[in-house]
């Protein structure tokens, strides 16, 4: 009898736990940003000429030391692959075009502003924020410099001021959050001479990207990078060659912080699972105590007999 009761109880606890975890994952989904609000940038690699105006515009907009405009047309920098750094939050790299060596592929790199950013998830002090317009920003004052965001990022974007001994900062593209707030375009978009960067609503950009691919099927490969990668990114790319050849990582369509976040957030959301756990433990304690009492009383009764 008591064995059966315990089994039933365990079953019930199991179901309630599963239900709460399930519920928490549903509530997490409801928390997502409405796609209509998310802004993005479509990068057309078939159009970019590699003038690096964006690099300079970005430096100027973020008060980083910038060089003379004409310096940026020097193409020697393309000899080696570069990643965004604390000096240049966006960089352009060049790749050979096997079809026509005179029109190489130029590719701009910066933070992709993921729909489900791993950096936000990984930050242990909550310095990172995914904003409603899609921008992933961070609060330097909260940052403790643990560099977990750098490890977590699937695109290796956040950089660290290693050259500074005192108060080194994490740096990355902030989607010109301050500019867009004032209704301005991101600095790189505003300064691209060929409009290889198009700023707009992410949903609209997706439609535009697919239209462009359909219009020039010989020019572009049939893919919009960032549509599904790690659950989608604000920045989208279309290109004439496979993205692996342009040093883009091959990523699945699952958000980078998917599994860890589901467990972590599942456990702590609305404090239901902890309550359930402690409730369950309490129940177990109460049950075992009651059982003990029962057995004690029974032995007493027997003794009384």
């Amino acid at each position: 009898m008591s064995d059966n009761a315990r089994r039933d109880f365990l079953k019930q606890v199991g179901i309630t736990t599963a239900a709460t975890v399930g519920l928490s994952s549903i509530t997490a989904k409801a928390d997502e940003y409405k796609s209509g609000e998310v802004q993005g940038v479509l990068v057309d690699i078939g159009v970019c000429v590699g003038c690096r105006n964006c690099e300079r515009a970005c430096q100027v907009a973020h008060n980083l030391p910038a060089g003379d405009p004409e310096e940026y047309h020097n193409r020697d920098v393309y000899k080696e692959f570069r990643r965004p750094s604390t000096h240049s939050l966006t960089v352009v790299n060049e790749f050979e075009n096997p079809k026509n060596k005179l029109i190489p592929y130029d590719v701009k790199y910066q933070c992709m502003h993921c729909n489900h950013p791993a950096c936000v998830s990984a930050c242990i002090v909550g310095a990172f924020t995914k904003n409603r317009n899609g921008a992933v920003t961070w609060d330097t004052n909260k940052c403790i410099g643990c560099r977990y965001c750098m490890v977590a990022c699937p695109f290796q974007i956040p950089t660290f001021e290693y050259d500074k001994a005192i108060q080194p900062k994490i740096m990355k593209c902030d989607f010109c959050f301050e500019r867009t707030k004032e209704g301005l375009l991101p600095a790189c978009v505003a300064n691209c001479p060929v409009e290889a960067l198009t700023y707009g609503n992410r949903d609209e950009l997706l439609v535009l990207a697919k239209k462009r691919i359909a219009r020039y099927p010989d020019k572009y490969i049939q893919k919009v990078f960032g549509e599904d990668e790690v659950g989608g990114t604000s920045w989208l790319y279309i290109a004439p060659v496979d993205f692996e050849k342009l040093m883009f990582p091959t990523l699945g369509d699952k958000p980078a912080p998917g599994v860890t976040e589901a467990i972590q957030h599942g456990i702590f959301s609305y404090f239901i699972p902890p309550l359930a756990l402690f409730g369950w433990l309490g129940g177990v304690m109460w049950l075992s105590k009651r059982k003990k009492e029962l057995t004690e009383s029974e032995t007493k009764k027997e003794e009384d007999k």
Binding site: V47, V49, G50, C51, P69, E70, H73, R75, P98, K99, N100, K101, L102, I103, L185, V189, A190, C192, P193, V194, E195, T198, Y199, G200, E204, L205, L208, K211
Partner: protein
């Protein structure tokens, strides 16, 4: 008094001189324009290749070398329902203009930015485009109607509602940089832009002065091109260029529409070594063969040797191969004026009257073949001398004149052809 007379006469003389000179100059310009216009018109039989047509009164705009879908939305546009796309045209007249008709220099100053305006040498660029894409290379939506301003479709501001069309700054830069970065290997701004602070009007005036008299050197064409290929057993492909352009009336852009400026303009290569062949762009098998195979479908199907031969080919000799001499009357004709069935060049009737039905007594001017008939002979029927109306064979005199034979005796006197 004397001085006054001299002065007035000098004045009158100079005035007359100016007027006459201006008129001569004007006439010259008009004539030049005329010859240019007639040069560009290409005649194939009774058909005219459209981009070269200076007006479209005879040829409707449906003959324009543009995909109908560029302007029309539906499958079958009609007059009542032309289903025109919103952008951009309303009036329908021809687009084709001579390069000289357009402006010499255009000031591009609509876009405001870090750099100043661009004084664009329009005429020279238009002249260069003649060989490849023509006006449409840049005026890509100007299929018909007056030349539209770029900003009709391309917004002057980057922040705009319709992001599907690039803004004006991007449209300009895409057009220019696409070529310029290929041959200059640079994206520097100052090769086009005037530095801020510099007076655009002054730069424009300088350019205007320079390009007023300067024209792009005439685009020449080779007589033949011999390609050395890797094809085993048939290294050489000989392409008779002038035959294709003159005899078949093929317009430049039919083959050269995607030609690259660097074919002539790779400045770095020129600086390094004049003899270095122009940097080749990679072409696939299909891209290499398409220019020929698109027309010569039947001839080259499973027959590489139609083009690939072990030595450079001789030009097609009509007399040697067919026995019919094109000289002197048929040299300037296009092939399809006689060979009317496309692709079928064999078994033509060599008899003149198979084409010339006006070769009959009284209508034919015999002087044109070099002999002016005397009175006795001009009254005769053609077949009296030319048996069975075979004009390609020597006439027979022996029917009337014993022992007479052409060309020892001629029925009249020699005349200039």
């Amino acid at each position: 008094m004397k001085r006054k007379i001299i002065f007035t006469s000098l004045l009158i003389f100079s005035l007359v001189f100016i007027i006459v000179y201006a008129k001569v100059d004007n006439n010259k310009a008009r004539e030049q324009k005329k010859t240019q216009a007639s040069e560009t018109v290409t005649q194939i039989g009774n058909k005219t290749i459209v981009p070269e047509v200076p007006n479209d009164k005879k040829y409707g705009h449906a003959m324009m070398p543009v995909d109908c879908k560029t302007c029309h939305d539906c499958e079958v546009p009609t007059k009542n329902n032309p289903c025109l796309k919103a952008c951009p045209r309303k009036e329908f007249i021809t687009i084709y203009h001579l390069p000289e008709e357009g402006p010499t220099v255009v000031s591009l100053d609509e876009v405001k930015g870090d750099y100043g305006a661009v004084a664009f040498s329009h005429k020279v660029h238009a002249q260069m485009s003649q060989m490849s894409g023509g006006c449409e290379t840049c005026h890509h939506y100007n299929t018909t109607g007056p030349v539209l301003k770029c900003k009709t479709c391309h917004s002057t501001t980057r922040q705009r509602a319709d992001i599907s069309v690039p803004d004006l700054e991007a449209a300009f830069h895409r057009q220019c940089l696409n070529c310029h970065r290929q041959w200059s290997h640079s994206t520097d701004c100052q090769s086009c832009h005037v530095l801020k602070g510099q007076n655009i009007k002054q730069v424009e005036a300088e350019k205007l002065k320079k390009f007023k008299t300067y024209s792009h050197p005439p685009l020449t064409e080779p007589k033949k091109v011999i390609f050395k290929t890797n094809h085993q057993g048939g290294d050489y492909v000989t392409f008779f260029h002038t035959e294709h352009t003159d005899n078949f009336g093929i317009a430049c852009k039919t083959c050269h529409s995607n030609d690259n400026c660097i074919n002539c303009h790779d400045v770095t290569l020129k600086a390094i070594d004049q003899n270095t062949p122009v940097r080749k762009t990679h072409k696939s098998f299909q891209e290499h063969h398409d220019p020929c195979s698109k027309c010569h479908v039947q001839q080259i199907e499973n027959n590489c040797s139609f083009c690939h031969q072990d030595q450079p080919a001789e030009a097609f000799n009509h007399l040697k191969v067919t026995g019919f001499n094109l000289a002197p009357f048929h040299t300037n004709l296009m092939c399809n004026q006689c060979h009317k069935q496309p692709g079928n060049f064999k078994n033509m009737d060599k008899n003149c009257t198979s084409c010339h039905n006006n070769f009959v007594k009284g209508k034919f001017d015999h002087k044109r073949v070099g002999i002016e008939l005397n009175e006795t002979h001009s009254d005769l029927d053609c077949s009296d001398c030319h048996k069975n109306n075979r004009f390609d064979k020597s006439p027979d005199c022996s029917d009337c004149h014993d022992g007479y034979a052409y060309p020892k005796q001629i029925p009249g006197k020699k005349a200039k052809r």
